[in-house]
């Protein structure tokens, strides 16, 4: 493996020649995921060079967290990745618990896991809408966003908020499940499953989609490790790697699931992998609802949070989010404040380095589809 990133445009680009044209794709552009931009150099409608620009959503979380107490960071972290906040909550809590030596009650582990899987499903539904939208099927977008909203309804019941749940707190979770949640959740799962089969008919078996997505943005297998590609992007390239299986956390060890892979490694196969993972989510949620304990403690008391000090140390905790390896590196120095937090989001490499590499040679019309197929969330890149 000795693949390096290619920085110079393949042909020498001379803008004055009139052969090339430079355009900005984003940040205000409907074909961009989130708020970021691509500086594209085109020859005709073919892209010869690309530079990514991020930072439109930079809020300096890592700095802000260094000046907030441990409990004050708990509402902050979920804002880091807007469409998928709970992974931040879980990983921040897990890191703090690891450093402070707090054991989480059994029920809390199940509730956390349920929360994460619901989030994964919701996030994938949103992505599926974006993907079908980017390839010109906005009807499916209407369906999936609505179904995501049904999951947000579940979140609202479970956690008290739609988007920023602030549910998984250091020590456990904030509240047990409300009465009758299981039935309502199963009902939503039924709806989602029906939708998924409809999506299979309309999107995955769609001639237009196949024509456009197959062969688009192939991540070659030597790129995977060189670029740190993780998650479904990596699994679509044939690597059976999944943090949930490799280093199981929460209750994944007790659940029955397989790592889903594909071989094509293009936009189409990435869609297939995610599509199957959505079915897997539904199955995992059903398993959990079936087997989770119904009562017991859901929160281990922490020290008085107003002056909670954690001994000096460092740790790295990670989880498999929808996009790949999501990790928190936390360093403490024995004070009431965290010394350093780093949030490792999979979009960081997917949206910057990988995107720059894949987009070369693509058609301008496919940039949106390619970008969606990598499933990137800009807020987690710049934090």
């Amino acid at each position: 493996m000795n693949l390096t990133h290619d920085f110079s445009p393949t042909p020498e680009v001379d803008l004055a020649s009139g052969k090339y044209v430079k355009i900005w794709h984003g940040p205000q552009h409907p074909g961009i995921t989130g708020n970021m931009s691509l500086e594209l150099t085109l020859c005709g409608d073919e892209i010869v060079n690309c530079k990514t620009h991020v930072g439109y959503l930079h809020r300096g979380f890592e700095k802000l967290m260094e000046r907030r107490t441990y409990i004050q960071n708990f509402p902050l972290v979920c804002r880091i990745a807007v469409p998928e906040p709970t992974f931040n909550e879980y990983l921040y809590s897990a890191g703090i618990e690891d450093l402070a030596g707090i054991e989480v009650p059994e029920l809390a582990k199940w509730l956390r896991c349920l929360n994460l899987e619901l989030m994964r499903l919701g996030s994938f539904l949103m992505w599926l809408g974006g993907a079908s939208g980017a390839f010109g099927m906005s009807t499916v977008y209407q369906w999936t966003v609505t179904h995501r909203d049904y999951i947000l309804d579940l979140f609202e019941e479970m956690t008290g908020a739609r988007i920023y749940h602030m549910y998984i707190s250091p020590g456990g979770v904030r509240a047990p499940l409300p009465d009758g949640f299981k039935d309502r959740c199963l009902m939503v799962m039924k709806k989602v499953e029906k939708l998924l089969y409809e999506v299979e008919t309309t999107v995955l078996n769609n001639a237009v989609f196949k024509k456009r997505a197959i062969g688009l943005g192939v991540i070659s297998s030597d790129m995977v490790d060189a670029y740190g590609v993780t998650g479904p992007n990596q699994r679509a390239a044939g690597y059976a790697r999944d943090t949930r299986k490799d280093s199981p956390y929460l209750v994944y060890e007790q659940l029955d699931f397989d790592v889903i892979t594909a071989t094509g490694s293009d936009a189409f196969d990435r869609t297939i992998v995610r599509y199957q993972e959505m079915h897997q989510c539904v199955s995992l949620i059903r398993q959990m609802l079936d087997r989770m304990p119904t009562d017991g403690a859901f929160h281990t008391p922490t020290p008085n949070v107003l002056h909670w000090k954690i001994p000096a140390g460092e740790t790295y905790v990670k989880a498999e989010c929808t996009r790949g390896e999501y990790g928190y590196y936390i360093e403490t120095d024995g004070s009431e404040y965290v010394r350093r937090v780093h949030i490792r989001g999979p979009s960081y490499t997917h949206a910057i380095a990988v995107m720059e590499k894949l987009v070369i040679g693509a058609n301008i019309a496919d940039v949106a589809g390619l970008m969606v197929s990598l499933h990137t969330y800009p807020p987690e890149i710049e934090r």
């Binding site: 205000q28 989130g34 300096g60 804002r79 947000l152 920023y164």
Partner: protein
């Protein structure tokens, strides 16, 4: 039409010479209501019922625009529609916090929009900095940089709250109370000074129409 001499030209001092010819140097002109009151009222009614929103997710608030625009809440039936370009839009939603880098794009997009134009400030971050009151990269008060017509508080504001905001905006437009466009023209120099204070590398025209 107003006499052009009332509005002296802009310096565009931060543009490089080669680019100066690409942009105009005129100052913004205020929106003049129709001379006949009835016509103006009718125009306001029409404007209120076709709110074309610029599809620019400036911050995390954009995440709740998706449900709002899709079938469950279906904002289209209220005449609210997303447009991909500022030239077709009359509403910009400042969705939460704006980092300095995004603020620059918001200003450009706002200035390119058709008048009369309206701005909806979404979430706590647009009011007073919100979550990121101590962040070095996000501004605190969006109303120092562009005129805001209406605020919807919340973090996130739910789609329903957003919808309530749009309906309130419609009422205000119908009543002829949304004068953000003219405020921007009137206090143009103040807004510009504030904008240039935070945007360090001002490499765009002073008024980007």
């Amino acid at each position: 039409m107003t006499d052009k001499n009332d509005y002296p030209t802009l310096a565009n001092a931060d543009l490089i010479d080669a680019e100066r010819s690409l942009f105009c140097d005129a100052r913004p002109v205020p929106y003049e209501p129709y001379p006949v009151d009835f016509v103006e009222k009718f125009a306001n009614w029409v404007r209120a019922n076709s709110l074309w929103v610029l599809a620019f997710g400036t911050g995390c608030g954009a995440i709740e625009l998706n449900p709002l625009m899709t079938s469950r809440f279906d904002a289209n039936r209220y005449g609210i529609q997303m447009r991909p370009t500022p030239r077709q839009s009359c509403v910009i939603v400042v969705a939460g916090y704006s980092s300095v880098k995004t603020l620059k794009r918001i200003i450009r997009s706002y200035e390119q929009m058709q008048g009369p134009k309206f701005v909806l400030g979404l979430g706590i971050c647009s009011l007073n900095g919100g979550m990121y009151w101590d962040s070095y990269n996000t501004i605190k008060r969006i109303d120092q940089y562009i005129p805001i017509d209406l605020y919807v508080t919340g973090c996130m504001p739910r789609p329903e709250a957003l919808l309530a905001g749009f309906i309130e905006l419609k009422d205000k437009i119908k009543a002829g109370q949304c004068d953000g466009t003219n405020r921007y023209v009137k206090d143009f120099d103040w807004y510009k000074a504030n904008q240039k204070k935070v945007i360090k590398n001002w490499d765009m025209p002073d008024y980007n129409w």
